[in-house]
């Protein structure tokens, strides 16, 4: 979908407010033309600051940002031609909806008749035709959000930035808006950079996701690869659900490895993701939906290094799937997630069970500091 040519390049960008803490730490990032890139991370990870650097509301303390090959450091925000949608929408309360959407056109000296035409088109685009005469305060949160998007799009910028634009909406509306924004992006082909701390939102909407942590990008990948193949413990923990076991690396060869689980002193097989020395502390990540469960004593189709014994503590029925909490030595909260069709095959609560998996789904990382 996205051509390989970058529209924005962050080259060695650094940002600090106090000269000590690095909010953004030597960041290199390319945003490809036409892609939907999400900057995802916990609060304080530097994702919003990165977006503000690009918008021009913050100035980097190191490095350079290039927009279509031109350095941005001397270009003020109002000349960057980057559309922006803010968390609280920032619709001007004293202007009507039409005046709000027309604002970027009127400051560019577009004639009034032309403005009216384009405002109408923008309103239709977000399915709010006929709302032009109202004021922002008369609109619901979701409608205000759409107006903010229309206002950022109406002057046809090549790049749209969104700073947690759906944060104030309730869950249902948020999911609906995620799809709407995604469809808009696909229809218009405009490049979008989107900041959120909600990983489900990032997975739903993005072409690529950049996971931020302590001012650095931990991993930059497609949603699928980000979820299936996290490259470090932070991303594995942050994206999706994750069962963690701590241990030490025993052997490693050809990407496969054996880990001695600290609590039980048993060996398990896994896939080694990062370069780790023999004997170093590692943590193992197992997605709940990649783990199966059987009552102890049943024959199971798993290698010896891909199973652990425990006891079934809890079964949680969730309609579309079932979750089983298993107490293992070393992880009392080990979760197994099975499709609803397997609900009746689950052992009883309190039963001795074995959980098992295949080695490629058991990923070992260097432990986080």
């Amino acid at each position: 979908m996205s051509s390989p040519e970058p529209i924005v390049r962050f080259v060695g960008i650094g940002k600090t407010y106090d000269g000590v803490a690095r909010i953004v730490d030597n960041l290199d990032l390319d945003i490809m033309r036409g892609e939907f890139l999400t900057l995802l991370g916990p609060s304080g990870s530097g994702k919003t600051t990165t977006l503000m650097l690009l918008a021009g509301f913050e100035t980097p303390t190191a490095g350079e940002i290039l927009l279509e090959g031109k350095p941005l450091s001397r270009v003020p925000p109002y000349q960057r031609n980057i559309g922006m949608v803010f968390q609280n929408y920032a619709l001007f309360p004293h202007m009507t909806i039409a005046e709000n959407i027309g604002f970027p056109l009127s400051v560019r000296g577009v004639p009034a008749a032309e403005i009216a035409k384009r405002v109408e088109r923008a309103l239709d685009m977000v399915q709010l035709g006929g709302f032009g005469k109202r004021r922002p305060g008369q609109l619901s949160g979701g409608q205000q959000q759409r107006i903010a998007v229309a206002r950022a799009l109406v002057f046809e910028p090549k790049l749209i930035l969104m700073d947690e634009p759906l944060g104030a909406l309730d869950k249902q509306l948020r999911e609906q808006m995620q799809l709407e924004i995604r469809r808009l992006h696909q229809r218009l082909g405009v490049t979008m950079a989107y900041v959120t701390h909600d990983q489900a939102e990032a997975l739903t909407m993005s072409d690529r996701i950049a996971v931020f942590h302590r001012g650095r990008i931990e991993q930059l990948d497609t949603p699928e690869r980000m979820y299936e193949y996290p490259t470090n413990a932070f991303v594995a923990r942050f994206i999706g659900e994750n069962n963690r076991l701590d241990g030490h690396l025993e052997t490693a060869a050809n990407g496969r490895c054996a880990i001695r689980v600290a609590a039980t002193d048993t060996l398990i097989d896994g896939t080694l993701v990062e370069t780790v020395g023999i004997g170093d502390a590692v943590s193992v990540s197992l997605r709940p939906e990649r783990v199966q469960i059987r009552a102890a004593g049943h024959t199971i189709d798993a290698q010896p290094g891909c199973r652990l014994a425990g006891s079934l503590r809890e079964i949680i029925y969730l309609g579309d799937h079932v979750r089983a909490r298993v107490a293992l030595t070393g992880n009392e909260e080990f979760m197994v997630k099975r499709p609803i069709s397997e609900a009746h095959t689950l052992p009883h609560i309190g039963a001795a069970v074995e959980v098992f998996w295949t080695p490629e789904h058991c990923r070992a990382f260097a432990q986080e500091h």
Partner: protein
């Protein structure tokens, strides 16, 4: 069977009606309880305001329209003149009644009050009244009219009698008209006061002008200050606000006198300017309009800064950022996005400064010249120097009316509920 069903349906509907009525009653009862509780909470303040504020001020203001002296002191002539058509001289009975009234008033010692009241309307009336009292013949063989005209030919003029009739009460528009440089002539129609007696329109206009200028200067000086303070982190903003409020910690009189010290001919500023060679002779900076503006702006500036600050504080920076990202240059973003959102603060600040400035008395009295005195000066003058309470009250009514009118205009344009005072 069917009839039975219909009857039970009717009964059911009636009971629904009854239920609804019961519900409404219950709602009213619970509302009334809330209203009573609310009333009980405001009652102490209401009683205090009524006793210490509304009643005394109302009593004072009523003196601007009540006119009872003449009806009390010269009752007979006042009664006769009520039926006088005013076209010719009053009948003989009026002259006789006046003579009887003046005799009675001299004995009772109240003639001076009546003379003072009539003298407000027609200068020289005091002399006129007292000369009758002194030269009155002991027994009236001739007609009362001839006797009075013999004492002073003014008793033969309609205007003299019209003045007595105008003052006959019980209410009068004499003071209110006077406060607008208007008067009633002998035919009871409203005309302008003689040119040399016109002052109050000038005073009222000057009061409005000075207040407007002070408000404007406060806005121009206060807006950037509030803007800067609102942009500071909370700790520093608190310190800066404290500095803005510092003038409130000193008495108004002391601050005003301090300006006299600073601005006078041999004052601090003039000495400085002279020693720096900026001027060759001392600047005249006191007892003129300049000094009035300086001192009043100094006193009133916090009332402009506080509401502005409060409004600006509540405007998130994302609005101006949004405007900027949409392509607005800094001034455009400021003018079209920021300033309109501060309008409630501008309105509140201007209203507070203007209304307070309208009533200013001490400051212009101390640092202004003769042509810089505002309406309050004249209210004080009539209330304490000449003890013409009617005129003091009428000017107060003008001041109050101007204030309320402004408030109404503001309410219409901005809405008082949007006002933010800090």
């Amino acid at each position: 069977m069917q009839r039975g069903a219909a009857a039970s349906l009717h009964a059911a509907l009636a009971s629904v009606d009854q239920d609804a009525a019961g519900l409404r009653r219950a709602l009213r009862r619970s509302r009334r309880r809330e209203q009573l509780r609310a009333a009980a909470l405001v009652l102490p303040l209401f009683v205090f305001l009524a006793a210490c504020f509304v009643v005394p001020i109302g009593a004072m203001l009523s003196r601007g329209v009540i006119d009872a002296d003449i009806a009390r002191i010269l009752p007979a002539v006042a009664a006769v003149l009520k039926s006088w058509d005013g076209r010719d001289l009053p009948p003989e009975s009026a002259y006789a009644a006046l003579i009887a009234d003046i005799r009675a008033a001299r004995e009772a010692g109240t003639l001076a009050s009546a003379a003072t009241r009539l003298n407000y309307d027609v200068p020289g009336f005091r002399t006129l009244l007292f000369s009758v009292g002194r030269q009155l013949p002991a027994d009236l063989s001739e007609s009362a009219r001839d006797a009075l005209i013999g004492i002073d030919p003014k008793w033969g003029e309609r205007e003299t009698w019209a003045a007595i009739r105008r003052a006959g009460g019980p209410v009068t528009d004499f003071y209110l008209l006077g406060a607008l440089d208007l008067r009633r002539d002998a035919d009871s129609s409203i005309t302008g006061a003689p040119q040399e007696q016109r002052v109050f329109r000038d005073v009222l206009g000057r009061t409005l002008w000075i207040s407007a200028m002070v408000t404007l200067i406060c806005l121009v000086l206060g807006y950037p200050v509030a803007y800067v303070i609102a942009a500071q982190p909370p700790g520093r903003a608190g310190l800066l606000l404290f500095l803005v409020l510092l003038p409130f910690w000193t008495s108004l009189l002391v601050r005003t006198v301090a300006w006299v010290v600073l601005l006078q001919k041999e004052g601090v500023l003039n000495s400085l300017f002279l020693s720096l060679g900026l001027v060759n002779e001392p600047l005249k900076m006191i007892f003129n309009r300049f000094a009035v503006y300086v001192a009043m702006v100094h006193v009133l500036l916090p009332f402009m800064v506080l509401p502005l600050y409060s409004v600006m504080r509540s405007i998130p920076p994302s609005y101006v950022r949004a405007a900027s990202s949409l392509g607005a240059k800094p001034f455009t973003a400021f003018w079209r996005v920021y300033v309109p959102q501060t309008l409630p603060g501008i309105g509140a600040g201007c209203l507070m400064v203007f209304i307070q400035a309208l009533g200013y008395y001490i400051t212009p009295a101390l640092v202004g010249g003769a042509d810089d005195q505002m309406i309050s000066y004249f209210i004080a003058f009539y209330a304490s120097k000449t003890v013409n309470w009617g005129m003091a009250a009428a000017l107060s009514i003008m001041l109050l009316t101007a204030t309320l009118a402004l408030y109404a205009v503001y309410n219409r344009m901005v809405g008082v509920e949007r006002m933010r005072l800090g």
